[in-house]
Every structure is written in C-alpha cells, then in structure tokens.
C-alpha cells in the first residue's frame, strides 16, 4: 500500500494522519528546492537547503510516529537538525570567505573555477 493510498483511504476530516505530514513535507521540500535553484544570493540558497533538510526531518518524525515500537526516525531527525546546524555553520563560513574574496555573495559572479 502506498502512502498516497493510505491518505486516500483516510476518512474525511478525521484526525490528522500521515498523509498530511507527507504533503506538508513535500510542499516544504519543493519550496526549498525552488529557493535553492532560483535564488542568486548564497544566503538565500542556504535557506532553501534548510527548508529541504527540515522537510526530510519532518518525514522521519512522521514515519516514526506512525510506525510502532521504534524511535529510529526521531533519532534521525535529531541527527538531521545537528547536521543542519553544522552545515549552516560551515556554509556560512564559506559564504563569509567568498564575500571577503569577491565582495559579493551572488553565486553567479563567483565563477572562477568554471572550466
């Protein structure tokens, strides 16, 4: 049974089920992806990446909640948060370094390594 099937089989206006979480997560992921793909500011791209990470973490938590006996998903969500924090730290440091070098954070202008 697919998650969408489960979603479709849920009674209307019943309690919030797994399907809602997944839809929300998908929307967040899509928004994050669009942000990362379209924004030219490095900081904005980082924000998009944060959205993607959080969408993934939401999925973990949701699946963990709706499955029995394990907390593996929640542990992974914690991992994702830690990872995101670390990533943000490193990425912001890089952005800062880029800014120092190029006086801009526009990724289209930082193309020195282009082949």
């Amino acid at each position: 049974m697919t998650p969408l099937g489960t979603l479709a089989a849920a009674p209307a206006l019943a309690t919030i089920g797994l399907g809602h979480f997944l839809v929300l997560s998908a929307v967040m992921f899509t928004l994050g992806l669009i942000t990362a793909a379209t924004r030219r500011s490095a900081v904005a791209i980082l924000m998009g990446v944060e959205l993607i990470l959080n969408a993934a973490a939401l999925n973990f938590v949701a699946f963990s909640h709706f499955s029995q006996g394990t907390i593996t998903g929640q542990v992974f969500a914690v991992f994702v948060v830690v990872l995101a924090a670390a990533e943000a730290t490193v990425a912001l440091a890089i952005v800062l370094a880029v800014f120092r070098g190029f006086r801009t954070v526009d990724v289209t202008d930082v193309s020195t390594l282009k082949g």
């Binding site: 992806l33 990362a36 793909a37 379209t38 924004r39 030219r40 791209i45 990724v107 289209t108 930082v110 193309s111 390594l113 282009k114 082949g115």
Partner: protein, 803 residues
C-alpha cells in the same frame, strides 16, 4: 730402417723413424725458423740470421737426402728400390682410400738429390747475393725471402716424394704459391707484382687442367674392377699375377711366386702403375683372351694387360677417354713447365731476384711438369695420341723458345727463353717414350742453367753497381747492350758462363751434349708417334743450332763485344769497390765455379753413351738410365726389344756436335767484335724487322693471350656490364619506381583515410568536450536544478521499472 719393397698393401703403419718425412720436415722447420727467428733476432744479431738459418736447414736436408740415398736406395737390389713411407690417412670416399704417403724410388731419388743439391748451392749463393738487396722501405726483407726459399724447396720435395696424386697436388700448389711470393719479392715494383700475378694465373689454368686429369684417371679406373674380377674369375677386385719380372740370363722373365695386385680406382702412382702393367699369363694351352674372349695370337697374348685394355677401350664422346685424360694432365704439366701454350709467364718471372730465377729454372717449379709426365709415363704410354701431342708441343716450344732467346737484349730473358726451349727438349723425350732421357736432361739442365743464372747474377751485380738509376730500373743492369768487355774484370764468371754455355749449346763432351743426344736418338727410334719423326728431328736440329747461337751470343755480348758505353772500366771499378766484401764475392764465385764443373762433368759421369762402350744389352745403357730403368721399362707391351741401331746414335751425336759447333762459330763471328759487325747486323735487323719483332715478343704470346683469353674475358665483362646496366639496373630501377608509386598511393591513403579516422576521433572527442563543458557553467542554481531533475528522473525510472 730398411727399404720396404712395395707389396701392394694399404698403409703400412709408419715406423718410429720416418726418414723420408725428415726430408720434408727439415726445410719446413727451416722456413719457420727463418721467418720467426730471422725477424725476431734481426736487430740483436744482425740481418744475417735468416740467411744462415736457411742455409743450415738446406744443408741438413741435403745431408739427409744423401744419407737416405746411400743407405736405403743404392744398396738395395735394382728392382726393389721402392721405399714407401705412408704417413697418415687423409680421407675415405667410397672405396677410395686416400693417404698421405711418401715414396723414394729411383725417379724421386734423382729429383730429391737434384733439388737438395742445387738448392743448397743456390741458398749459399743467395745468402751473400741478397746482402742489401732485400730492403723495402727500410725493412729487411731477407727473413721473408729465405723463409719462402726454404718453403719452395719443401714444396718441391713434397711434390717429388709424393706417392700419389693427392700429396703431389699439395706440393704442386705449394710450389706455385711460393713462386708467386718469390717472383713478387720486390712487390713494390709494378713489374714484379704483375709478373707474379701473371705466373700465378697462368699456372692456375694448368692446375685446373691437372685437377681435371687426376679426376679423369680416377673416374676412368672406376668400373674396371667388376669386369676384370668377374671375367678373369679372380677373387674380388684383387688379381694375382706371377711375381715381378726379374732379370735372368735370357732377358726379363716372371719370377716365381704369386703377388697380389689390387685393382680398381686409386690415386697412388705405384698401385696405378702396377695394375696398368698387370700382365695376365694365359693358362697352359689356352690362347683365349680372358676379358674379350677373343682367340688371339698366343705370342701376343702373353703380354695381354686387362686393366690397361679396359681403360684404353673407354671413350668420352668421340675421343678416347685416356687421350682426354692425358691431355688434361699434359696441360697441367705445360702450365708448370712453361710449355706452349702456357709459357709466357716464365720470361716475365725474371722480375724476381736472380737466385730465385736460378732455383725456379734449375731445380724446382719448371721441372715439376717434366717430373709429372715422367712419373706417369706408364699412363701416357697407353695413348699414342697423347704422346704425339707431348712430342709436338715439346718441339714447338723448343723452337719458339730458342728463336725468342736469340733476339732478347735482357740477359735474364735470354736465359728464361732458353729454359723454355730446353724444357721443350725434355717434353720431346717424354713424348718419344724416353722418360729416362728426359730426366737426364732435367739433371744436366739443372746444373748448367743454375750456373748460367748465378754467373749472370755476378754480372748483373757488377753492372748494377756502376749504372746510375739501377735501383729503380733493374732492367738497365741486365741489358746486354750495356755490357761487354767484362771478361777481364770477372774472369770466374766468364769461365763459369762459358762452361755452362757449352753445356747448353751441346758442345761435344759437355753435359748437354749427352742428354740432348739421348733425346734425339730416342726420338729417331720412336715408332709410336702419329707424326713424322724426321720432321720433329729437323725442327730440333734447327733448335740446336739456334741454342748454340743464342748461348754464345749472350756470352760474347757480355764478356767481349766492345762496350757501347764505358761499362768495362766502370765494372772494373765496381769489382774493386763493389757492394760485396771479399768473402761474399769469393763464396759466390766458388758456387758458380762448382756449378760450372758440374755442368761439364755431370753429363759424361751419368750418361756416357752406350755406343761408346763395349758393353752389351742393358749394361750398355748410360748410368742414370740404368738406375731409372725400373721406373720406365715395360711401360708398354714389349713388342720389339731391339735397341736403337748404333748407327742412329752415332749419327745423332755427330750431327749434334756439328750443329752446336756451327752455332758457336756463327756467334763468335757475329758478336765477338760487336762493333765491327754492327753495321752488318743492323742491316740484317732492318731487313728482317718483322721476324725480329715476332721473335722478341716470344711469337706474340702475350698478344695471343690477349686475343684469346684477356680480350674475350674483357668482352664478356663488358657484356656483363651492359647486361647489368640495361637489364638488371633497369629492372631494379623499375621496381624502385613502382615502389615509389605504391608509396605515393599508400601516402595518400594514409593522409586521407588513416589520418582522417584518427583526426575524426580526436575531433569528435574535442567536440564532445566542448559541448560537455557548456554544462559546467559555474552557476550553482543550474547544478541544483540538474541534481533535482536527475533525482526526479531516477524516481520516475524506479517507478516504471520497479515492481
């Protein structure tokens, strides 16, 4: 040590002492020692080491030869003087076993004594003659000279001691090689180098013929065994016969006792001779020929010889096989002995030092051909055609040589043509079946020709010492026109020369008289030649006159005729202050005088004519001929045992004496006072200029060679060159051009196809790279989009492919 009578056995094991081998080893060791020690110690002990060593080796050889002769040959019974010494086997081919062996029989004994005796004297003379002569570019050539001189004697001894064709051929070739080295001793002089080459090449022609002849003898004897063995009903290929012929009161009779004679191809002289002379006696009462089956006259059949008969019956094409084989052997002998048509090398060989000329002409080399024919006289006796050819060639050569000698101005060339002429006499003897007389003439000629050459050496030395530029032009000092009046300054040379000249001319009681008389008598008595013997006799009579004339012409021109320049005075001067110290001059003079005595004495001592003695029968033969008799007697079936009528011999002696004296008288009248007769001689020379030119060039022998051999060879070479240029080169060029075309095509293909493919591949890679590089645009956004699109594509793919 003792004489081993020939038993027909194969290779008796050599004893501890091999005396005959010493005869070869001594000069060979001498040559080695001379070459090595002579060069090594030349600086410390002086240049005389080499001549001394060579002379010592030569004298040792002479002593050895004398000891062997007097202990092993002479005391033995006359018909057992065959002393064989097999040394080692060489090879076996089919049924033919070839060994290296030596044999001392009367014939080789005479030759050995001649070679070693004259060789020793000539060595002794040369040791002093070559003082200061051997220098080439500051390097003393004497070790080389004397080593080759010793080697020359060694080769000649090997040649005469050989018991078969194979060792003989070794000696034959070695003699040729040594003559090449010695004629070309002054190899920096173009004339000497050319003369050596000429001698070598002309000899090669003869040697090739000799090799063919030897092969033909071997070939011809093949097949003899089966027919004879079967038909004669004998065991295998061995025939038995009664013992050797022995002298009884009533002439030769077979001795009792059977003797085995191997029959079949062989390279051994005595084996060959024994089977060719093998006589089969008819069984009691039978008069049937055991091979042909024909009933024959009983008296003739006694001397029927099956092997000789079979060999004689073979033909080659339309020619008798034996005749062709003998002609080949004769050509070989003619090459070595300077007979027509291969004689022109000998006069040129005068370019060598004078002692070499003496050695070549007197003792070695040129006598080799005479020796070979004497050795094979049993074979030639079977072919009257070949004998005729030998006699005719000999006569013509004698005549040509004498006429050529008559008009030479170069002293040594006179002597050279004289040798050619005298060798012709020897060939006549062989052709007349009188090999003994031929060998006798070899001996007497050896003495007087050695004496002539060595006396000429004294003369040339004396003249050269006073002639400006003689170092560069050795022919100047040999020009008789520049000499004259030397009798006073060189008395010893003069008397030596005179004695030798009288021997050469055949003045009565000089040695040449006896040997020539024997030859002419034998020719007159010979009835087997296919040509009129009076014709040959007449030609030889003329030759005898010419011989006397040219011999005394040279004598008077050298010693008497008034000098055209002041030669006498100068030579007198040179005699006192010449290049030689007293000792050398004395030794050389002594050698010349010794040879002069020999030139006079040898003839009467060895050849006192039979008609001058009261003896009868065989004992009336001259001593040398009696000694040699076992070698030649019975070479053909005895049909007539009657000797030469005494009247013939008396006639020949008288005629020879008269002709010789006549020649002397004419020469004395013409040349004793050359200046007085000069106008007359000039008129004569002008009138017969053509003849003189013909004679002087040796009957245009060189031109004949040029026309017959050199020009065709050149033409052939030219044709070959043309063929090479026109055909071979063109073909090669065509192939090359084709290769170039092909290369061009291959080049085009390479450039356009192969290179195109290679370039295309690289172009494609570059284009792909350029396209691909566009993806790497450096914009992170598009990368992210790419990643997302990729993941999406993977998901879609998994959705359709999965489950």
């Amino acid at each position: 040590m003792g004489a081993i009578p020939y038993s027909g056995g194969w290779l008796t094991p050599p004893g501890i002492d091999a005396p005959l081998a010493w005869l070869l080893l001594l000069p060979l060791l001498g040559a080695l020692a001379t070459a090595v020690l002579g060069s090594l110690f030349a600086r410390r002990l002086g240049g005389r080491v080499a001549p001394a060593l060579a002379v010592v080796a030569m004298l040792a050889t002479l002593v050895a030869a004398l000891v062997i002769f007097f202990t092993d040959v002479l005391p033995v019974g006359q018909r057992e003087r065959i002393f064989r010494q097999p040394l080692f086997p060489l090879f076996v081919v089919g049924g033919i076993r070839v060994a290296f062996g030596l044999v001392m029989d009367p014939l080789s004994a005479v030759m050995v004594l001649l070679v070693t005796g004259l060789g020793s004297l000539i060595h002794l003379y040369a040791a002093f003659y070559m003082e200061g002569q051997g220098e080439e570019q500051g390097k003393d050539g004497r070790p080389r000279f004397f080593a080759f001189l010793n080697l020359f004697v060694f080769s000649m001894l090997l040649l005469v001691l050989a018991d078969g064709f194979v060792p003989l051929f070794f000696g034959w070739e070695a003699v040729g090689a040594c003559s090449y080295f010695l004629i070309g001793f002054w190899y920096r002089r173009a004339a000497a180098a050319d003369a050596a080459t000429k001698a070598f090449i002309v000899n090669r022609v003869g040697d090739a013929a000799l090799l063919l002849g030897i092969s033909m003898v071997l070939w011809g004897m093949g097949g003899v065994e089966m027919v004879t063995g079967a038909a004669a009903g004998q065991l295998g290929n061995v025939l038995t016969r009664n013992g050797p012929m022995v002298e009884t009161g009533e002439g030769l009779q077979p001795s009792p006792g059977r003797q085995k004679i191997p029959v079949g191809p062989t390279l051994d002289f005595h084996e060959l001779r024994d089977q060719l002379r093998l006589e089969m006696l008819p069984r009691a009462g039978a008069t049937t020929n055991p091979v042909t089956g024909a009933t024959a006259d009983a008296a003739r059949d006694v001397h029927f010889r099956p092997v000789a008969y079979l060999l004689n019956r073979k033909t080659l094409g339309h020619l008798p096989f034996l005749f062709v084989a003998c002609v080949m052997l004769l050509l070989g002998a003619a090459g070595k002995s300077a007979q027509l048509p291969l004689f022109a090398w000998l006069p040129d060989a005068m370019a060598g030092p004078t002692p070499v000329s003496a050695l070549i002409h007197a003792a070695t080399l040129v006598t080799a051909g005479v020796y070979l024919l004497a050795r094979l006289s049993f074979l030639f006796a079977l072919s009257p055609g070949a004998l005729t050819l030998v006699a005719v060639i000999g006569t013509l050569t004698a005549l040509v040589g004498a006429t050529a000698a008559l008009v030479q101005n170069d002293l040594k060339r006179v002597l050279a043509y004289s040798t050619v002429s005298q060798l012709g006499y020897m060939f006549v003897a062989l052709g007349a079946g009188a090999a003994g007389a031929g060998v006798f003439h070899v001996v007497t000629h050896g003495f007087f020709k050695a004496c002539l050459f060595l006396a000429a050496g004294l003369v040339v030395h004396a003249v050269a010492a006073t002639t400006a530029g003689a170092d560069q032009r050795p022919d100047l000092a040999q020009d008789m026109r520049r000499m004259g009046g030397l009798a006073r300054t060189l008395p010893a040379a003069r008397w030596g020369y005179f004695a030798a000249c009288s021997a050469l001319a055949g003045l009565p009681f000089a040695s040449g008289f006896f040997s020539k008389d024997l030859i002419l008598t034998a020719l007159a008595a010979c009835d087997r030649l296919a040509i009129s013997t009076p014709l040959l006799l007449a030609a030889l009579g003329v030759t005898s006159f010419l011989t006397s004339l040219y011999a005394f012409r040279s004598y008077y021109l050298i010693f008497f005729a008034r000098p055209q320049r002041d030669a006498a005075h100068e030579a007198h001067h040179a005699g006192q202050h010449g290049g030689h110290e007293g000792l050398g001059q004395r030794v050389m003079t002594a050698v010349v005088l010794l040879l002069a005595v020999g030139a006079v004495v040898v003839g009467p001592a060895l050849g006192w004519p039979g008609n001058w003695t009261a003896n009868q029968g065989e004992s009336s033969l001259p001593r040398l001929l009696r000694f040699l008799a076992p070698m030649f007697e019975g070479d053909w079936p005895r049909r007539d045992v009657s000797g030469t009528p005494a009247i013939v011999e008396w006639g020949m002696q008288l005629g020879g004496a008269v002709v010789a004296l006549l020649g002397w008288a004419v020469a004395r009248a013409l040349y004793r006072d050359a200046e007085a007769t000069a106008p007359a001689r000039r008129r004569l020379a002008e009138r017969y200029a053509v003849v003189q030119r013909l004679f002087a060039t040796g009957w245009q022998a060189d031109r004949a060679y040029h026309l017959l051999a050199v020009a065709p060879a050149r033409a052939l070479a030219g044709a070959a060159t043309w063929l090479d240029r026109a055909v071979v080169d063109r073909a090669v060029n065509a192939v090359a051009a084709m290769g170039m075309r092909l290369g061009w095509v291959a080049g085009v293909f390479d450039r356009h196809v192969v290179d195109g493919v290679v370039d295309g591949v690289s172009e494609a890679a570059l284009a792909a790279g350029r396209r691909g590089a566009r993806l790497q645009n450096g914009r992170i956004n598009s990368y992210v989009l790419g990643i997302a699109a990729g993941i999406a594509a993977l998901v879609v793919l998994a959705y359709f492919l999965g489950s």
